[in-house]
């Protein structure tokens, strides 16, 4: 797919390819490091294959359900104007950043044997729910990913120029006609990417899948990697499993790039959208239903986290506040790095796509690899690389920020790349003909169209970094902690109530960061 006919300049090559090289180092590089450091070579056993089967099947089901629910939710959220709409969109940033243990406790507070629903139905003499098993795994993953899918699809709708809907209204095109000519092409371009992202997130899930999956049947590849690195010290097996995760990612990535057809919407005047169809009562009722359902599904577990944490949050020890400062600092830095990488790579991809379509598609697929990468492998691989030169403790926070940035890159790229391609296509030539160059060209012609996706992805990257407990565990000395780390330390010292307070603080700070960045991207309302 050719996004643009712009020439490739040195600056794009330098920034784009260094971002790309960093990605390769963190993903394939760290696996290679493990492989080279392996003493023994092993082959995969039949139980490994059943782990792979389980991992893939739950990921496909979870991603499908998440996307299916997210489509009507996103439509309702985008077209209906009601009080609390912005609030819902903001809170939606929360579920997917929850540290595993908070998420598990939140979900069982609603769906567990003694959860809200089981308590409620016990009034009617119905046995308590038992979600443990495949259902539990899918439930948890759908809980994490509906908000993510919804936000991505909302952006898809936001990218349709208002003129299309006006024209449809003038021509008297009905809802199914609009769906066929405007919405379906948009969805076809957005869904494959978001499906891939959710699929990969579900593949790398580990503690949540196990705890709600009811036992070793629900073992994911990630747990097997953890086991081989921590208990068996078997680098070869960890590397093999890591490569399997990457291969799954590559197969789905290629399919995504092939299936996702870029939409050819012409440019509009950047004004607020309105729908003249969908005014029928039937549609309103459906939208109310889907929004109520999704809100209850997402917000009840969050409410339980709030209830558990609201009292202990006022008596947290000082170390927690230092950890909170570290977490916010790392989150902001990693979000800046992530956006920088995404813009550089988008710039490169947009320009390369014209002459070398295969190269540009490869870059796009490789950017997804970080999602398929195991944090344990990245951590261990980096550790082996860094240890001979510097004490890993001294660079705990910068390394965490960097790895978190790379982890958030696939999201940012998915958001920013289409926006940049559109901006280049619609305004690039105009800008060139007006003689705009370099930074002013970017600032005036491109940046206004990137603001919204950049704000959203920066918020997502920051929130993602806040909740992360990946590499920091391997690098952090005692006196440097992040919030998730301190929460685990509290839990393992029986301080369960204080840990609930930290969980609430963590969720609140993440939502706040997400909100600040996301708002920042929308400040100029006339430009969507």
């Amino acid at each position: 797919m050719a996004y643009s006919t712009q020439p490739i300049k040195l600056i794009h090559l330098i920034f784009g390819s260094s971002a790309f090289a960093l990605l390769l180092l963190l993903t394939l590089g760290t696996v290679l490091v493990l492989w080279l450091n392996a003493d023994i070579k092993t082959t995969l056993s039949s139980s490994d294959w059943s782990i792979i089967r389980f991992t893939v099947s739950q990921a496909i089901v979870s991603a499908t359900i998440s996307v299916l629910i997210a489509i009507p939710t996103a439509r309702a959220l985008f077209f209906r104007n009601f009080k609390g709409r912005k609030f819902i969109l903001t809170i939606m940033g929360a579920p997917f950043i929850l540290p595993t243990i908070v998420a598990i406790l939140g979900i069982i507070a609603v769906w567990g044997r003694s959860g809200y629903i089981s308590e409620f139905i016990s009034n009617f003499n119905i046995n308590p729910l038992n979600i443990y098993g495949f259902t539990g795994v899918v439930l948890a993953h759908v809980f994490f990913n509906i908000p993510l899918a919804t936000r991505f699809i909302v952006q898809g709708w936001a990218a349709i120029p208002i003129e299309h809907f006006r024209l449809s209204a003038q021509l008297g095109i009905n809802t199914s006609g609009i769906s066929q000519h405007i919405e379906r092409p948009m969805l076809k371009s957005v869904i494959p990417g978001i499906f891939l992202i959710i699929f990969l997130l579900c593949i790398s899930s580990f503690a949540v899948a196990l705890a709600l999956g009811g036992g070793p049947k629900a073992t994911t590849i990630e747990l097997a990697i953890y086991q081989s690195l921590r208990f068996d010290f078997n680098f070869a097996k960890a590397a093999q499993l890591g490569i399997i995760q990457f291969s799954l990612c590559a197969i789905l990535g290629i399919m995504t790039v092939l299936f996702s057809k870029p939409v050819q919407f012409s440019s509009g005047l950047d004004i607020k959208i309105e729908r003249w169809d969908r005014t029928h009562f039937r549609y309103l009722l459906f939208d109310i239903f889907i929004l109520t359902f999704v809100c209850l599904f997402l917000f009840l577990p969050l409410l339980s986290i709030f209830i558990r944490g609201i009292i202990p949050i006022f008596s947290l020890p000082n170390t927690v506040w230092i950890a909170a400062f570290n977490s916010v600092l790392v989150a902001i830095v990693s979000s800046i790095i992530s956006i920088g990488m995404a813009i550089s790579m988008s710039g490169l991809i947009v320009r390369v796509s014209h002459k070398f379509p295969i190269t540009s598609q490869t870059i796009e697929i490789v950017s997804f690899l970080t999602l398929a990468a195991s944090p344990f492998i990245i951590g261990t691989g980096l550790f082996i690389l860094i240890f001979p030169y510097i004490s890993p403790f001294t660079i705990a926070l910068p390394i965490t920020a960097l790895v978190n940035a790379a982890m958030a890159l696939p999201f940012a790229l998915r958001m920013i790349l289409p926006a940049m391609a559109r901006a280049e296509k619609n305004y690039g030539k105009l800008a060139d003909s007006l003689g705009m160059t370099k930074f002013s060209r970017f600032r005036i012609a491109i940046w206004p169209r990137l603001r919204r996706p950049v704000g959203f992805s920066a918020g997502l990257a920051a929130a993602l970094s806040m909740g992360d407990l990946g590499v920091i565990t391997l690098f952090a000395p005692v006196d440097v902690a992040t919030l998730p780390l301190i929460m685990y330390r509290l839990m393992s010292s029986y301080q369960i109530s204080a840990a609930s307070g930290v969980a609430l603080l963590l969720v609140s700070l993440s939502i706040l960061l997400f909100w600040v960045f996301d708002r920042g991207g929308q400040l100029e309302h006339n430009i969507r």
């Binding site: 921590r230 920020a401 330390r489």
Partner: protein, 334 residues
């Protein structure tokens, strides 16, 4: 852009910890996370040792016991660590085979363990028994053995940890195997319907139990001591099993690569002294390896004492583990 570069540089510099100005020798101990946390034994032990050693004690948390050993294996002889504290008997054979550890010169005479201890490399500092914890208000007749647990009503559920990722999980695996060497697979098949779920770590399981999701959780016989002493809550009890209880003995050892061998020996000696041992019961919530002068803190007398202590010798643990693990996987994957 310049602003950003300055910011990034500042961030990098700010996080590089500067070396301490004074010239005191520094003893570095790698241990597990909960040992060093503000609520664990770490801070009190650092204070107590620094009073006498004329040195700086640097405690480093490296995940759990298994992660700690992997970390040392990763770092090899270039490690900064002088001492590893927090391995248990299931890991000591693997640890010994790395050749990273040095002999101690402790007589091991004053230890108060339920079993005899002799090991040239590793010195115990605390120990405990694995046990199932229940709420004695809700559960009036807890099971008294694995057999009775199997026979409990259908809606009686337990939460356990995965032996592939958690120390207590591995403890339970070896517990069943040691209590029923030839029937372990059968016992696990019987237990399977009782197992609500398996978690990756202790925290998730214990959290689910305190939320009321399961009737019993795998933990330690000393867990109720925390609730009794720190929370004044006597509703948590450990179920006493007739088969006996599997032990966890936590040990420390000196690294052969240590640049402060004398100081390291001094710490290992301090470790079995009254100052160290009296801190352990109410911070690590385990039994001290040497009984403190004033005995155990009030509240510990309310804990159960198992009729039999089970422990697989460390040399055999690794082999037993792989056999027991495949039995476990088969029984629970059906």
């Amino acid at each position: 852009m310049n602003k950003f570069i300055n910011f990034a540089a500042g961030f990098l510099l700010a996080s590089v910890t500067t070396a301490s100005a004074d010239d005191l020798p520094k003893l570095t101990i790698y241990t597990y996370d909960s040992f060093v946390s503000d609520w664990g034994p770490g801070p009190a032990i650092k204070k107590a040792f620094e009073k006498t050693c004329n040195c700086e004690l640097n405690l480093v948390g490296a995940g759990d016991g298994a992660a700690l050993l992997s970390r040392l294996q990763l770092e090899g002889i270039r490690t900064q660590a002088d001492i590893a504290l927090g391995l248990d008997t299931n890991l000591t054979a693997r640890a010994a085979s790395t050749g990273l550890f040095a002999n101690h010169n402790n007589s091991l005479k004053n230890l108060n363990l339920p079993i005899d201890w002799s090991d040239d490399l590793f010195i115990p500092y605390d120990w405990g028994y694995f046990a199932f914890i229940y709420d004695n208000i809700k559960v009036k007749n807890p099971p008294k053995s694995f057999q009775e647990l199997i026979m409990m009503p259908d809606d009686f559920k337990i939460v356990i940890q995965d032996p592939r990722s958690s120390t207590p999980g591995l403890g339970l695996l070896l517990w069943v195997k040691e209590a029923y060497p030839d029937r372990a697979a059968e016992i696990w098949e019987g237990l399977a319907p009782k197992i609500l779920t398996v978690t990756a770590g202790w925290s998730e399981a214990y959290g689910m139990f305190t939320e009321g999701e399961a009737d019993m959780v795998l933990s330690y016989t000393t867990s109720p001591a925390y609730h009794i002493i720190a929370e004044n809550d006597e509703t948590k009890s450990a179920a006493n099993f007739d088969e006996g209880h599997y032990m966890q003995i936590e040990v420390a050892a000196k690294l052969a690569s240590s640049k402060n061998p004398v100081l390291a020996d001094k710490f290992l000696e301090f470790m079995t002294s009254n100052d160290f041992q009296s801190i352990i019961p109410t911070t690590n919530w385990m039994y001290p390896a040497v009984l403190p002068k004033n005995g155990l803190p009030d509240g510990f007398e309310k804990l159960i004492s198992p009729s039999k202590s089970l422990l697989i010798p460390s040399g055999k643990a690794e082999n037993v583990r792989s056999e027991a693990l495949s039995e476990w996987l088969t029984a629970l994957s059906q």
